[in-house]
Homo-oligomer: 343 residues x 2
Amino acid sequence: MEDKKIKNMEEFASVSGISRPTLSKFFNDPASVRASTRRRIEAALEQYDYRPNLYAINQNRRLTKNIGVVVPYLSDPFFAEIARTIEAHVLETGYRPVLLGSHGNADQEIENLESLRLLKPAGVLLAPLGRASDRNRIAAFGQEVPTVLFDANIEETGAAFVGSNNGQSIDLIVDYLCRTGEPPAFFEMKEPTNPNAFKRRNAYIEAMERLSLTPHLIQAAGEGWEFEEIGFREGTRVVRDRNLPTNTILCSNDRLAIGFLSAAYEAGVRVGLGPDCTMRVAGHDNHPFSRYTCPTLTTVSQDYEAIAQKSAETLMALIEAQTPPDSRRETLFDGRLVMRGSA
Amino acid sequence: MEDKKIKNMEEFASVSGISRPTLSKFFNDPASVRASTRRRIEAALEQYDYRPNLYAINQNRRLTKNIGVVVPYLSDPFFAEIARTIEAHVLETGYRPVLLGSHGNADQEIENLESLRLLKPAGVLLAPLGRASDRNRIAAFGQEVPTVLFDANIEETGAAFVGSNNGQSIDLIVDYLCRTGEPPAFFEMKEPTNPNAFKRRNAYIEAMERLSLTPHLIQAAGEGWEFEEIGFREGTRVVRDRNLPTNTILCSNDRLAIGFLSAAYEAGVRVGLGPDCTMRVAGHDNHPFSRYTCPTLTTVSQDYEAIAQKSAETLMALIEAQTPPDSRRETLFDGRLVMRGSA
DNA sequence: ATTTAAAATTTACGCGCGTAAAGTCATTTC
DNA sequence: GAAATGACTTTACGCGCGTAAATTTTAAAT
């Protein structure tokens, strides 16, 4: 087909016999022109290789069809997975997702937002780093660009938040663990980078107290995003010392649990439900790799799909409304218990 | 500082007392103006909040400062890691990386290239899917845009290729395994998606024959990119049937090995070097999670850093030369043996 | 066949910046 | 101090498309 290259819309107008303003309308929304002319244009598009110049288009629009998607760490399969799902939902709505990772770095996070601002995006879906984030600058960005936060909440920032109901999910797993064995100790980082970690800690304590049990926190030192390494290090210590009031460990997230399980294995401690097992370990998130740990990891699944869909949906509504929302809305999705071999 | 918003370069010219063409030169290359005027501009930039409009800039350039980076699967920590490293190198050279994942899908891969073409990138770094890739269209793209392939090679396509020396790395691990125990069988997918898999298979066969040993292939059925799942499924079968001529398994890549190890654990087969172990397993790639398998995975590390740096470097040279290279160059980096607990 | 509303065309301007040409100014060289 | 070189300013055009206004065509409704 593709007979010859067309340089610009003017040229395409002359070869297709359609006026340029009509073509412009067509490319902005094919449904906005009469069905018969639409067919004529589409026929011409099959003959000639033409696509409108992206930069010329966006220069004249106040807002583009770009949607920024920022996650704290692209190498983390959890975020990679959720980014991928969000990407698909954004594409469905006819927008162009621009995916950026913050590499666990607050400066990079701000740079990503700055870089997005130049793209004049219609909106941004942002999963903030959490504690390390420059909250003021993120809030300022949220004032200028329609922004929906997901995964990690920052109060009063952005137009909405979509995430997991950590209270419910921790309740769920604590109840399960208590029902089926000894009550769990809670294994976490001493200074978590992520606000969800704080919520989970508090939810654990409340859940235990509700059951008239004494909460027990195991707090690992360590900075950064090498959670497996931290879980491994602290897990090795815990297993060696053997001074726990319980044989059951609930990890604040699956990546810590993966490291912990590795440590237990190395130390020769059998984890799981079998008769020769001396310890139970559970996680949180249903990390893509939690199916392949040894033993397979019992955990609470976050509803990736729902979070992705709702975030995208909320942002779209925000964009189409063209007006800041009356009030900031927070949506939380319940977790689902995933019973596997480790607890 | 940031007194007031400046609308465009014209306005910034009047408030800063510098002519617009000079400003234009400055923003394209700060070193291209006299040091004294450069200081004046930079001083003005601290007072006024102005950044050139990205779209207007790129509309008038034949090529932009964008560098496309395409990987087959962003959720795979291996590619996430290498993408991240490449991204950093691209940024260093003053270009803007645009990261796209193909989701294991050939159509998506082509769409990514199409989408990049609209961005008028200065060059593209592409890790193709492999067997599934539409080789013709990728080759055609390589004719139009300076393109360097990495990780997976496609003959005659793109201006250069940078990857791992699978021959050397498989030799290395086969030698090691033979030196320290029974010679390995090779565990792989029957119809690999990735050309490296074929190279590794052949390298294994050659290495075995060189040692006057009989190669033994275990080929798992299965499509797609769920390598752990395939490794788990086939691993379960292998362990159950117990009709192997050897107790040592060399997996074509770490993700298969991760699934295999999980299967062995579930089946109660001890893997490793200890006296109670009945099997050895090795992998290839030094996948970020191979440190946390049970037992930890002995593998061959690909030189991520070297591949990333060399790819970026090669592309930059290509871009600056502004002329298609005299001949296509292939660069292969040696692997490094990583001895851990599994073999 | 006539009216009418919707859609397409013609014409024209603007977006913000790259860039070329000619002229002016500052800095270096002898 | 004059000449020469380089840096800057002024002026002006073009990039490809969005979009507004006025006009004409088309298709549907009476």
